[in-house]
Symmetry: C2
Subunit: 293 residues, 2 copies
Protein backbone atom coordinates (compact mmCIF):
# COMPACT_ATOMS: atom_id res chain seq x y z
CA UNK A 1 0.00 0.00 0.00
CA UNK A 2 1.51 3.32 -1.07
CA UNK A 3 2.05 5.93 1.63
CA UNK A 4 0.03 9.18 1.57
CA UNK A 5 3.13 11.26 0.88
CA UNK A 6 4.42 12.60 -2.43
CA UNK A 7 7.67 14.00 -1.11
CA UNK A 8 9.38 13.07 2.16
CA UNK A 9 12.29 15.09 3.49
CA UNK A 10 14.56 13.12 5.81
CA UNK A 11 16.64 15.64 7.71
CA UNK A 12 19.36 13.50 9.20
CA UNK A 13 19.98 10.19 7.46
CA UNK A 14 21.80 8.00 9.98
CA UNK A 15 20.71 4.63 11.36
CA UNK A 16 17.04 5.57 11.81
CA UNK A 17 16.63 7.96 8.88
CA UNK A 18 18.24 5.58 6.39
CA UNK A 19 16.22 2.64 7.68
CA UNK A 20 13.06 4.66 7.17
CA UNK A 21 14.22 5.61 3.66
CA UNK A 22 14.58 1.91 2.88
CA UNK A 23 11.04 1.22 4.14
CA UNK A 24 9.61 4.02 1.96
CA UNK A 25 11.60 2.80 -1.06
CA UNK A 26 10.32 -0.72 -0.57
CA UNK A 27 6.65 -0.02 0.16
CA UNK A 28 5.92 3.29 -1.50
CA UNK A 29 8.23 3.55 -4.51
CA UNK A 30 6.40 6.54 -5.96
CA UNK A 31 7.11 8.66 -2.88
CA UNK A 32 10.02 10.97 -3.61
CA UNK A 33 12.73 10.92 -0.91
CA UNK A 34 14.98 13.89 -0.18
CA UNK A 35 17.89 13.18 2.15
CA UNK A 36 19.53 16.02 4.04
CA UNK A 37 22.80 15.74 5.97
CA UNK A 38 25.49 18.16 7.01
CA UNK A 39 28.46 16.03 6.01
CA UNK A 40 29.36 15.41 2.36
CA UNK A 41 30.49 11.85 3.15
CA UNK A 42 27.06 11.01 4.51
CA UNK A 43 25.37 12.32 1.38
CA UNK A 44 27.83 10.43 -0.82
CA UNK A 45 26.96 7.23 1.07
CA UNK A 46 23.25 7.89 0.56
CA UNK A 47 23.79 8.26 -3.18
CA UNK A 48 25.90 5.11 -3.30
CA UNK A 49 23.20 3.21 -1.41
CA UNK A 50 20.50 4.65 -3.70
CA UNK A 51 18.08 5.26 -0.86
CA UNK A 52 17.08 8.81 -1.83
CA UNK A 53 16.03 10.63 -4.99
CA UNK A 54 17.74 13.87 -3.99
CA UNK A 55 20.46 14.83 -1.54
CA UNK A 56 21.21 18.22 -0.02
CA UNK A 57 23.00 19.76 2.94
CA UNK A 58 20.35 22.50 3.24
CA UNK A 59 17.37 21.67 5.50
CA UNK A 60 15.33 24.56 4.00
CA UNK A 61 15.77 23.16 0.49
CA UNK A 62 14.92 19.64 1.68
CA UNK A 63 11.71 20.80 3.38
CA UNK A 64 10.63 22.91 0.41
CA UNK A 65 7.62 21.20 -1.16
CA UNK A 66 7.70 18.19 1.18
CA UNK A 67 4.38 16.99 2.57
CA UNK A 68 6.27 15.09 5.30
CA UNK A 69 9.42 16.32 7.02
CA UNK A 70 11.14 13.85 9.34
CA UNK A 71 13.82 15.23 11.67
CA UNK A 72 16.22 12.38 12.49
CA UNK A 73 19.30 14.15 13.81
CA UNK A 74 20.69 14.33 17.35
CA UNK A 75 18.47 16.52 19.54
CA UNK A 76 20.97 19.39 19.72
CA UNK A 77 20.40 20.12 16.01
CA UNK A 78 16.61 20.46 16.30
CA UNK A 79 16.39 24.17 17.16
CA UNK A 80 18.61 25.20 14.24
CA UNK A 81 16.70 22.98 11.83
CA UNK A 82 13.40 24.45 13.00
CA UNK A 83 14.69 27.95 12.30
CA UNK A 84 16.00 26.88 8.89
CA UNK A 85 12.87 25.11 7.63
CA UNK A 86 10.22 27.47 9.03
CA UNK A 87 10.15 29.65 5.88
CA UNK A 88 9.95 26.75 3.39
CA UNK A 89 7.50 24.40 5.15
CA UNK A 90 4.44 24.32 2.91
CA UNK A 91 0.82 24.63 4.01
CA UNK A 92 -0.47 21.27 5.17
CA UNK A 93 3.01 19.85 5.71
CA UNK A 94 3.49 17.36 8.54
CA UNK A 95 6.56 17.81 10.69
CA UNK A 96 7.63 14.77 12.69
CA UNK A 97 10.81 13.46 14.29
CA UNK A 98 12.33 10.28 15.72
CA UNK A 99 14.06 11.70 18.79
CA UNK A 100 14.35 9.92 22.12
CA UNK A 101 13.20 12.86 24.29
CA UNK A 102 9.79 14.24 23.38
CA UNK A 103 9.36 17.32 25.60
CA UNK A 104 12.63 18.69 24.27
CA UNK A 105 11.64 17.80 20.71
CA UNK A 106 8.39 19.74 21.04
CA UNK A 107 10.18 22.67 22.66
CA UNK A 108 12.76 22.90 19.87
CA UNK A 109 10.56 22.13 16.84
CA UNK A 110 7.55 24.28 17.82
CA UNK A 111 9.02 27.55 16.47
CA UNK A 112 8.73 26.07 12.96
CA UNK A 113 5.05 25.28 13.42
CA UNK A 114 2.76 28.01 12.13
CA UNK A 115 -0.95 27.55 11.41
CA UNK A 116 -1.37 24.93 8.68
CA UNK A 117 1.78 23.00 9.62
CA UNK A 118 1.14 19.87 11.69
CA UNK A 119 3.58 18.75 14.37
CA UNK A 120 3.45 15.02 15.22
CA UNK A 121 6.41 14.14 17.47
CA UNK A 122 7.40 10.49 17.28
CA UNK A 123 9.86 7.96 18.62
CA UNK A 124 10.36 4.59 16.93
CA UNK A 125 11.82 2.49 19.75
CA UNK A 126 14.26 0.47 17.68
CA UNK A 127 17.90 0.59 16.80
CA UNK A 128 21.26 -1.07 16.93
CA UNK A 129 24.62 0.06 18.28
CA UNK A 130 25.72 1.02 14.77
CA UNK A 131 25.52 4.49 13.24
CA UNK A 132 25.28 6.06 9.80
CA UNK A 133 23.36 5.35 6.60
CA UNK A 134 25.23 2.11 5.85
CA UNK A 135 24.02 0.65 9.14
CA UNK A 136 20.30 1.02 8.38
CA UNK A 137 17.95 -1.74 7.24
CA UNK A 138 14.22 -1.74 6.58
CA UNK A 139 13.46 -4.61 8.96
CA UNK A 140 14.90 -2.79 11.98
CA UNK A 141 11.46 -1.53 13.00
CA UNK A 142 9.60 -4.83 12.62
CA UNK A 143 7.47 -5.76 15.67
CA UNK A 144 8.89 -2.90 17.75
CA UNK A 145 6.84 -0.05 19.23
CA UNK A 146 6.59 3.49 17.97
CA UNK A 147 5.43 6.17 20.40
CA UNK A 148 3.74 9.30 19.11
CA UNK A 149 3.31 12.24 21.49
CA UNK A 150 0.95 14.64 19.68
CA UNK A 151 -0.25 17.68 21.61
CA UNK A 152 -3.95 17.64 22.66
CA UNK A 153 -4.92 19.95 19.78
CA UNK A 154 -3.04 17.96 17.13
CA UNK A 155 -4.56 17.43 13.68
CA UNK A 156 -5.89 13.86 13.81
CA UNK A 157 -5.47 13.33 10.08
CA UNK A 158 -1.78 14.20 10.37
CA UNK A 159 -1.43 11.82 13.32
CA UNK A 160 -3.13 9.06 11.28
CA UNK A 161 -0.72 9.57 8.41
CA UNK A 162 2.36 9.33 10.65
CA UNK A 163 0.80 6.28 12.29
CA UNK A 164 0.43 4.70 8.84
CA UNK A 165 4.07 5.43 8.08
CA UNK A 166 5.35 3.49 11.09
CA UNK A 167 2.80 0.72 10.69
CA UNK A 168 4.15 0.25 7.18
CA UNK A 169 7.56 -0.20 8.79
CA UNK A 170 6.06 -3.02 10.88
CA UNK A 171 5.69 -1.12 14.14
CA UNK A 172 2.93 -1.10 16.71
CA UNK A 173 2.07 2.57 17.18
CA UNK A 174 0.87 4.00 20.52
CA UNK A 175 0.23 7.52 21.74
CA UNK A 176 1.06 9.06 25.10
CA UNK A 177 1.87 12.49 26.52
CA UNK A 178 5.45 13.66 25.90
CA UNK A 179 6.20 13.98 29.62
CA UNK A 180 5.09 10.40 30.25
CA UNK A 181 7.16 9.14 27.32
CA UNK A 182 10.23 10.80 28.75
CA UNK A 183 9.76 9.15 32.15
CA UNK A 184 9.21 5.67 30.69
CA UNK A 185 12.17 5.91 28.34
CA UNK A 186 14.41 7.26 31.10
CA UNK A 187 13.97 3.86 32.73
CA UNK A 188 13.90 1.52 29.72
CA UNK A 189 16.49 3.16 27.56
CA UNK A 190 18.35 6.15 28.97
CA UNK A 191 19.37 4.59 32.29
CA UNK A 192 20.49 1.29 30.66
CA UNK A 193 22.65 3.22 28.24
CA UNK A 194 24.15 5.38 30.97
CA UNK A 195 24.92 2.30 33.07
CA UNK A 196 26.53 0.56 30.11
CA UNK A 197 28.62 3.62 29.31
CA UNK A 198 29.63 3.82 32.96
CA UNK A 199 30.71 0.21 33.40
CA UNK A 200 32.65 0.11 30.14
CA UNK A 201 34.38 3.31 31.23
CA UNK A 202 35.16 1.76 34.61
CA UNK A 203 36.82 -1.15 32.82
CA UNK A 204 38.87 1.08 30.52
CA UNK A 205 40.23 2.90 33.56
CA UNK A 206 41.84 -0.30 34.81
CA UNK A 207 45.53 -0.86 34.19
CA UNK A 208 46.53 -1.96 30.69
CA UNK A 209 47.21 -5.57 31.64
CA UNK A 210 43.84 -6.02 33.24
CA UNK A 211 42.18 -4.20 30.33
CA UNK A 212 43.34 -6.71 27.74
CA UNK A 213 42.01 -9.49 29.96
CA UNK A 214 38.69 -7.73 30.32
CA UNK A 215 38.44 -7.89 26.53
CA UNK A 216 39.53 -11.53 26.36
CA UNK A 217 37.00 -12.66 28.97
CA UNK A 218 34.16 -10.33 28.04
CA UNK A 219 31.84 -13.24 27.26
CA UNK A 220 30.94 -13.46 30.96
CA UNK A 221 28.45 -10.59 30.68
CA UNK A 222 30.55 -7.54 29.95
CA UNK A 223 30.31 -7.74 26.17
CA UNK A 224 26.55 -7.09 26.22
CA UNK A 225 27.28 -3.78 27.92
CA UNK A 226 30.01 -2.91 25.42
CA UNK A 227 27.53 -3.33 22.59
CA UNK A 228 25.17 -0.81 24.17
CA UNK A 229 28.09 1.48 25.07
CA UNK A 230 29.11 1.60 21.39
CA UNK A 231 26.01 3.66 20.54
CA UNK A 232 26.42 7.09 18.98
CA UNK A 233 28.14 9.44 21.48
CA UNK A 234 26.59 12.72 20.24
CA UNK A 235 23.08 11.30 20.10
CA UNK A 236 23.41 10.03 23.65
CA UNK A 237 25.03 13.17 24.99
CA UNK A 238 21.98 15.06 23.70
CA UNK A 239 19.53 12.60 25.22
CA UNK A 240 21.02 12.96 28.70
CA UNK A 241 21.21 16.74 28.47
CA UNK A 242 17.61 16.96 27.25
CA UNK A 243 15.96 14.50 29.61
CA UNK A 244 17.92 15.59 32.64
CA UNK A 245 15.32 15.52 35.41
CA UNK A 246 13.82 12.14 34.51
CA UNK A 247 17.28 10.59 34.05
CA UNK A 248 18.58 11.97 37.34
CA UNK A 249 15.52 10.55 39.08
CA UNK A 250 16.10 7.00 37.80
CA UNK A 251 19.86 7.21 38.48
CA UNK A 252 18.97 8.04 42.07
CA UNK A 253 16.62 5.05 42.37
CA UNK A 254 19.17 2.77 40.75
CA UNK A 255 21.96 3.97 43.07
CA UNK A 256 19.85 3.30 46.14
CA UNK A 257 19.13 -0.23 44.94
CA UNK A 258 22.78 -0.88 44.10
CA UNK A 259 23.76 0.30 47.57
CA UNK A 260 21.25 -2.12 49.11
CA UNK A 261 22.73 -5.05 47.16
CA UNK A 262 26.27 -3.92 47.96
CA UNK A 263 25.34 -3.92 51.63
CA UNK A 264 23.84 -7.42 51.34
CA UNK A 265 27.04 -8.68 49.73
CA UNK A 266 29.21 -7.06 52.40
CA UNK A 267 27.12 -8.58 55.18
CA UNK A 268 26.84 -11.97 53.49
CA UNK A 269 23.03 -11.80 53.32
CA UNK A 270 22.43 -14.59 50.83
CA UNK A 271 18.65 -14.67 51.24
CA UNK A 272 18.32 -11.01 50.29
CA UNK A 273 20.37 -11.61 47.13
CA UNK A 274 18.55 -14.76 46.10
CA UNK A 275 15.12 -13.18 46.62
CA UNK A 276 16.13 -10.17 44.53
CA UNK A 277 17.58 -12.29 41.71
CA UNK A 278 14.50 -14.50 41.64
CA UNK A 279 12.22 -11.48 41.29
CA UNK A 280 14.13 -10.13 38.28
CA UNK A 281 13.69 -13.42 36.43
CA UNK A 282 9.94 -12.85 36.27
CA UNK A 283 10.41 -9.60 34.36
CA UNK A 284 12.36 -11.44 31.68
CA UNK A 285 9.48 -13.86 31.25
CA UNK A 286 7.06 -10.94 30.85
CA UNK A 287 9.22 -9.49 28.11
CA UNK A 288 9.39 -12.82 26.30
CA UNK A 289 5.60 -13.12 26.57
CA UNK A 290 5.24 -9.57 25.19
CA UNK A 291 7.41 -10.70 22.26
CA UNK A 292 9.95 -7.93 22.90
CA UNK A 293 12.88 -10.27 23.64
CA UNK B 1 39.99 -37.73 18.98
CA UNK B 2 38.82 -39.67 22.05
CA UNK B 3 39.37 -38.03 25.42
CA UNK B 4 41.84 -39.61 27.90
CA UNK B 5 39.04 -40.50 30.33
CA UNK B 6 37.23 -43.81 30.79
CA UNK B 7 34.67 -42.58 33.27
CA UNK B 8 33.67 -38.98 33.87
CA UNK B 9 31.51 -38.01 36.86
CA UNK B 10 29.55 -34.79 36.33
CA UNK B 11 28.42 -33.63 39.75
CA UNK B 12 25.82 -31.04 38.91
CA UNK B 13 24.27 -31.34 35.46
CA UNK B 14 22.74 -27.94 34.69
CA UNK B 15 23.57 -25.63 31.79
CA UNK B 16 27.34 -26.14 31.93
CA UNK B 17 27.44 -29.77 33.08
CA UNK B 18 24.93 -30.93 30.48
CA UNK B 19 26.68 -28.99 27.71
CA UNK B 20 29.92 -30.72 28.66
CA UNK B 21 28.14 -34.08 28.67
CA UNK B 22 27.01 -33.40 25.12
CA UNK B 23 30.57 -32.56 24.06
CA UNK B 24 31.89 -35.81 25.57
CA UNK B 25 29.09 -37.81 23.95
CA UNK B 26 29.84 -36.28 20.58
CA UNK B 27 33.63 -36.49 20.58
CA UNK B 28 34.49 -39.33 22.92
CA UNK B 29 31.61 -41.80 22.74
CA UNK B 30 33.52 -44.52 24.57
CA UNK B 31 33.91 -42.34 27.67
CA UNK B 32 31.35 -43.39 30.25
CA UNK B 33 29.37 -40.46 31.71
CA UNK B 34 27.88 -40.49 35.20
CA UNK B 35 25.52 -37.62 36.00
CA UNK B 36 24.86 -36.67 39.60
CA UNK B 37 22.16 -34.26 40.74
CA UNK B 38 20.20 -33.76 43.92
CA UNK B 39 16.78 -33.43 42.35
CA UNK B 40 14.95 -36.41 40.83
CA UNK B 41 13.46 -34.19 38.06
CA UNK B 42 16.94 -33.20 36.93
CA UNK B 43 18.05 -36.83 36.72
CA UNK B 44 14.87 -37.75 34.87
CA UNK B 45 15.61 -34.99 32.34
CA UNK B 46 19.15 -36.31 31.90
CA UNK B 47 17.82 -39.78 31.15
CA UNK B 48 15.25 -38.40 28.75
CA UNK B 49 17.97 -36.41 26.98
CA UNK B 50 20.24 -39.49 26.91
CA UNK B 51 23.32 -37.46 27.80
CA UNK B 52 24.65 -39.81 30.51
CA UNK B 53 25.20 -43.55 30.92
CA UNK B 54 24.34 -43.54 34.61
CA UNK B 55 22.48 -41.19 36.93
CA UNK B 56 22.67 -40.92 40.70
CA UNK B 57 21.91 -38.49 43.49
CA UNK B 58 24.96 -39.66 45.47
CA UNK B 59 28.21 -37.76 44.74
CA UNK B 60 30.27 -40.51 46.42
CA UNK B 61 28.82 -43.15 44.09
CA UNK B 62 29.33 -40.90 41.07
CA UNK B 63 32.99 -40.29 41.90
CA UNK B 64 33.68 -43.96 42.63
CA UNK B 65 35.91 -45.28 39.84
CA UNK B 66 35.88 -42.00 37.87
CA UNK B 67 39.20 -40.82 36.42
CA UNK B 68 37.70 -37.34 36.00
CA UNK B 69 35.28 -35.70 38.43
CA UNK B 70 33.78 -32.38 37.31
CA UNK B 71 31.99 -30.32 39.97
CA UNK B 72 29.41 -28.15 38.19
CA UNK B 73 27.05 -27.08 40.99
CA UNK B 74 26.59 -23.67 42.61
CA UNK B 75 29.59 -22.84 44.82
CA UNK B 76 27.71 -23.30 48.08
CA UNK B 77 27.51 -27.06 47.43
CA UNK B 78 31.27 -27.54 46.93
CA UNK B 79 32.28 -28.13 50.56
CA UNK B 80 29.65 -30.83 51.08
CA UNK B 81 30.55 -32.51 47.79
CA UNK B 82 34.24 -32.51 48.77
CA UNK B 83 33.39 -34.24 52.04
CA UNK B 84 31.18 -36.77 50.27
CA UNK B 85 33.58 -37.77 47.50
CA UNK B 86 36.84 -37.78 49.49
CA UNK B 87 36.53 -41.47 50.47
CA UNK B 88 35.66 -42.73 46.96
CA UNK B 89 38.01 -40.65 44.78
CA UNK B 90 40.42 -43.17 43.27
CA UNK B 91 44.19 -42.86 43.04
CA UNK B 92 45.14 -40.80 40.00
CA UNK B 93 41.71 -39.21 39.73
CA UNK B 94 41.50 -35.63 38.45
CA UNK B 95 39.12 -33.32 40.29
CA UNK B 96 38.07 -30.21 38.42
CA UNK B 97 35.19 -27.75 38.49
CA UNK B 98 33.54 -25.05 36.38
CA UNK B 99 32.85 -22.45 39.10
CA UNK B 100 33.05 -18.71 38.61
CA UNK B 101 35.16 -17.98 41.73
CA UNK B 102 38.43 -19.88 41.90
CA UNK B 103 39.87 -19.03 45.33
CA UNK B 104 36.64 -20.22 46.94
CA UNK B 105 36.61 -23.33 44.73
CA UNK B 106 40.13 -24.25 45.84
CA UNK B 107 39.28 -23.54 49.49
CA UNK B 108 36.20 -25.76 49.40
CA UNK B 109 37.45 -28.61 47.20
CA UNK B 110 40.92 -28.99 48.77
CA UNK B 111 39.73 -31.16 51.68
CA UNK B 112 38.96 -33.90 49.12
CA UNK B 113 42.45 -33.80 47.66
CA UNK B 114 44.80 -36.35 49.21
CA UNK B 115 48.12 -37.44 47.67
CA UNK B 116 47.43 -39.06 44.29
CA UNK B 117 44.32 -36.98 43.60
CA UNK B 118 44.91 -34.04 41.24
CA UNK B 119 43.00 -30.78 41.64
CA UNK B 120 42.70 -28.67 38.46
CA UNK B 121 40.26 -25.79 39.10
CA UNK B 122 38.67 -24.49 35.90
CA UNK B 123 36.20 -21.94 34.60
CA UNK B 124 34.78 -22.18 31.10
CA UNK B 125 33.70 -18.56 30.43
CA UNK B 126 30.55 -19.36 28.48
CA UNK B 127 26.86 -19.63 29.16
CA UNK B 128 23.40 -18.33 28.49
CA UNK B 129 20.69 -16.96 30.76
CA UNK B 130 18.95 -20.36 30.77
CA UNK B 131 19.37 -23.06 33.41
CA UNK B 132 19.05 -26.82 33.69
CA UNK B 133 20.04 -29.83 31.54
CA UNK B 134 17.54 -29.03 28.79
CA UNK B 135 19.23 -25.67 28.22
CA UNK B 136 22.66 -27.13 27.43
CA UNK B 137 24.21 -27.53 23.98
CA UNK B 138 27.62 -28.73 22.88
CA UNK B 139 28.43 -25.64 20.83
CA UNK B 140 28.05 -23.29 23.81
CA UNK B 141 31.80 -23.37 24.48
CA UNK B 142 32.93 -22.82 20.89
CA UNK B 143 35.54 -20.02 20.53
CA UNK B 144 35.14 -18.93 24.16
CA UNK B 145 37.92 -18.93 26.75
CA UNK B 146 38.45 -21.42 29.54
CA UNK B 147 40.57 -20.35 32.50
CA UNK B 148 42.42 -22.97 34.56
CA UNK B 149 43.86 -21.93 37.92
CA UNK B 150 46.09 -24.82 38.98
CA UNK B 151 48.20 -24.37 42.09
CA UNK B 152 51.99 -24.00 41.54
CA UNK B 153 52.62 -27.63 42.49
CA UNK B 154 49.86 -29.03 40.26
CA UNK B 155 50.42 -32.24 38.31
CA UNK B 156 51.15 -31.06 34.74
CA UNK B 157 49.78 -34.21 33.16
CA UNK B 158 46.47 -33.67 34.91
CA UNK B 159 46.41 -30.03 33.76
CA UNK B 160 47.13 -31.17 30.20
CA UNK B 161 44.21 -33.60 30.29
CA UNK B 162 41.75 -30.95 31.53
CA UNK B 163 43.13 -28.59 28.88
CA UNK B 164 42.43 -31.25 26.23
CA UNK B 165 38.86 -31.61 27.53
CA UNK B 166 38.03 -27.94 27.03
CA UNK B 167 39.92 -27.72 23.76
CA UNK B 168 37.72 -30.54 22.51
CA UNK B 169 34.76 -28.34 23.43
CA UNK B 170 36.22 -25.66 21.15
CA UNK B 171 37.66 -23.40 23.87
CA UNK B 172 40.90 -21.50 24.05
CA UNK B 173 42.45 -22.54 27.37
CA UNK B 174 44.62 -20.21 29.46
CA UNK B 175 46.12 -20.48 32.95
CA UNK B 176 46.35 -17.83 35.64
CA UNK B 177 46.46 -17.65 39.44
CA UNK B 178 43.07 -18.05 41.15
CA UNK B 179 43.29 -14.65 42.83
CA UNK B 180 43.91 -12.94 39.49
CA UNK B 181 41.03 -14.82 37.87
CA UNK B 182 38.71 -13.62 40.59
CA UNK B 183 39.69 -9.99 40.06
CA UNK B 184 39.29 -10.14 36.26
CA UNK B 185 35.95 -11.90 36.43
CA UNK B 186 34.66 -9.50 39.09
CA UNK B 187 34.92 -6.84 36.40
CA UNK B 188 33.90 -8.75 33.26
CA UNK B 189 31.16 -10.90 34.68
CA UNK B 190 30.21 -10.40 38.32
CA UNK B 191 29.75 -6.63 38.20
CA UNK B 192 27.76 -6.73 34.91
CA UNK B 193 25.44 -9.31 36.41
CA UNK B 194 24.99 -7.34 39.63
CA UNK B 195 24.24 -4.17 37.67
CA UNK B 196 21.72 -5.99 35.50
CA UNK B 197 20.03 -7.50 38.54
CA UNK B 198 19.95 -4.05 40.13
CA UNK B 199 18.43 -2.16 37.21
CA UNK B 200 15.79 -4.78 36.53
CA UNK B 201 14.92 -4.67 40.23
CA UNK B 202 14.71 -0.88 40.08
CA UNK B 203 12.22 -1.20 37.22
CA UNK B 204 10.08 -3.78 39.02
CA UNK B 205 9.80 -1.43 41.98
CA UNK B 206 8.02 1.15 39.82
CA UNK B 207 4.23 1.39 40.00
CA UNK B 208 2.28 -1.25 38.09
CA UNK B 209 1.26 1.06 35.26
CA UNK B 210 4.81 2.13 34.57
CA UNK B 211 6.01 -1.47 34.90
CA UNK B 212 3.88 -2.73 32.02
CA UNK B 213 5.21 0.10 29.90
CA UNK B 214 8.77 -0.76 30.84
CA UNK B 215 8.09 -4.20 29.40
CA UNK B 216 6.41 -2.86 26.26
CA UNK B 217 9.27 -0.47 25.48
CA UNK B 218 12.15 -2.65 26.64
CA UNK B 219 13.72 -2.67 23.17
CA UNK B 220 15.40 0.64 23.97
CA UNK B 221 18.21 -1.06 25.91
CA UNK B 222 16.51 -2.51 28.97
CA UNK B 223 15.81 -5.94 27.52
CA UNK B 224 19.53 -6.74 27.23
CA UNK B 225 19.76 -6.28 30.98
CA UNK B 226 16.72 -8.46 31.62
CA UNK B 227 18.37 -11.30 29.74
CA UNK B 228 21.40 -11.15 32.01
CA UNK B 229 19.20 -10.69 35.08
CA UNK B 230 17.38 -13.94 34.25
CA UNK B 231 20.48 -15.97 35.13
CA UNK B 232 20.28 -18.60 37.86
CA UNK B 233 19.60 -16.89 41.24
CA UNK B 234 21.33 -19.45 43.46
CA UNK B 235 24.43 -19.67 41.29
CA UNK B 236 24.76 -15.90 41.34
CA UNK B 237 24.04 -15.54 45.04
CA UNK B 238 26.95 -17.91 45.64
CA UNK B 239 29.26 -16.02 43.29
CA UNK B 240 28.70 -12.71 45.09
CA UNK B 241 29.09 -14.26 48.53
CA UNK B 242 32.29 -16.06 47.51
CA UNK B 243 34.03 -13.25 45.61
CA UNK B 244 33.04 -10.57 48.04
CA UNK B 245 36.16 -8.43 48.26
CA UNK B 246 36.83 -8.25 44.52
CA UNK B 247 33.16 -7.54 43.77
CA UNK B 248 32.90 -4.82 46.41
CA UNK B 249 36.02 -3.20 44.95
CA UNK B 250 34.58 -2.99 41.42
CA UNK B 251 31.18 -1.83 42.71
CA UNK B 252 33.00 1.02 44.43
CA UNK B 253 34.85 2.02 41.24
CA UNK B 254 31.64 1.77 39.23
CA UNK B 255 29.71 3.91 41.72
CA UNK B 256 32.35 6.62 41.62
CA UNK B 257 32.18 6.69 37.82
CA UNK B 258 28.39 6.77 37.82
CA UNK B 259 28.45 9.66 40.25
CA UNK B 260 30.83 11.54 37.95
CA UNK B 261 28.47 11.07 34.98
CA UNK B 262 25.45 11.97 37.11
CA UNK B 263 27.21 15.18 38.08
CA UNK B 264 28.01 15.95 34.43
CA UNK B 265 24.35 15.47 33.50
CA UNK B 266 23.17 17.67 36.37
CA UNK B 267 25.57 20.43 35.39
CA UNK B 268 24.90 20.07 31.66
CA UNK B 269 28.54 19.23 30.87
CA UNK B 270 28.06 17.88 27.36
CA UNK B 271 31.76 17.67 26.53
CA UNK B 272 32.44 15.39 29.50
CA UNK B 273 29.65 13.06 28.41
CA UNK B 274 30.63 12.98 24.75
CA UNK B 275 34.30 12.31 25.57
CA UNK B 276 33.34 9.46 27.89
CA UNK B 277 30.94 7.87 25.37
CA UNK B 278 33.51 8.13 22.59
CA UNK B 279 36.09 6.33 24.72
CA UNK B 280 33.79 3.40 25.43
CA UNK B 281 33.22 2.81 21.71
CA UNK B 282 36.87 1.86 21.30
CA UNK B 283 36.50 -1.00 23.78
CA UNK B 284 33.70 -2.46 21.68
CA UNK B 285 35.95 -2.43 18.64
CA UNK B 286 38.65 -4.27 20.60
CA UNK B 287 36.17 -6.96 21.57
CA UNK B 288 35.04 -7.38 17.98
CA UNK B 289 38.68 -7.64 16.89
CA UNK B 290 39.30 -10.25 19.60
CA UNK B 291 36.33 -12.19 18.12
CA UNK B 292 34.52 -12.21 21.47
CA UNK B 293 31.51 -10.18 20.26
Amino acid sequence: MALPFDRVALIGIGLIGSSLARVIRRDSPRTRIVACARRAETLAAVRRLEIADETTDDPAAAADGADLVVVATPLSAYAGIARAIAPTLMDGAILTDVGSVKEAAIRDLSPAVRAGVHLVPGHPVAGTEHSGPEAGFAEMFRDRRCILTPLPDADREAVAKVTALWQTAGMKVVEMPAEHHDRVLAMTSHLPHLIAYTIVGTATALGDDLKSEVIAFSAGGFRDFTRIAASDPVMWRDIFLNNREAVLDVIQRFSEDLTALQRAIRRGEGETLEAWFTRTRAIRRSIIEAKQA
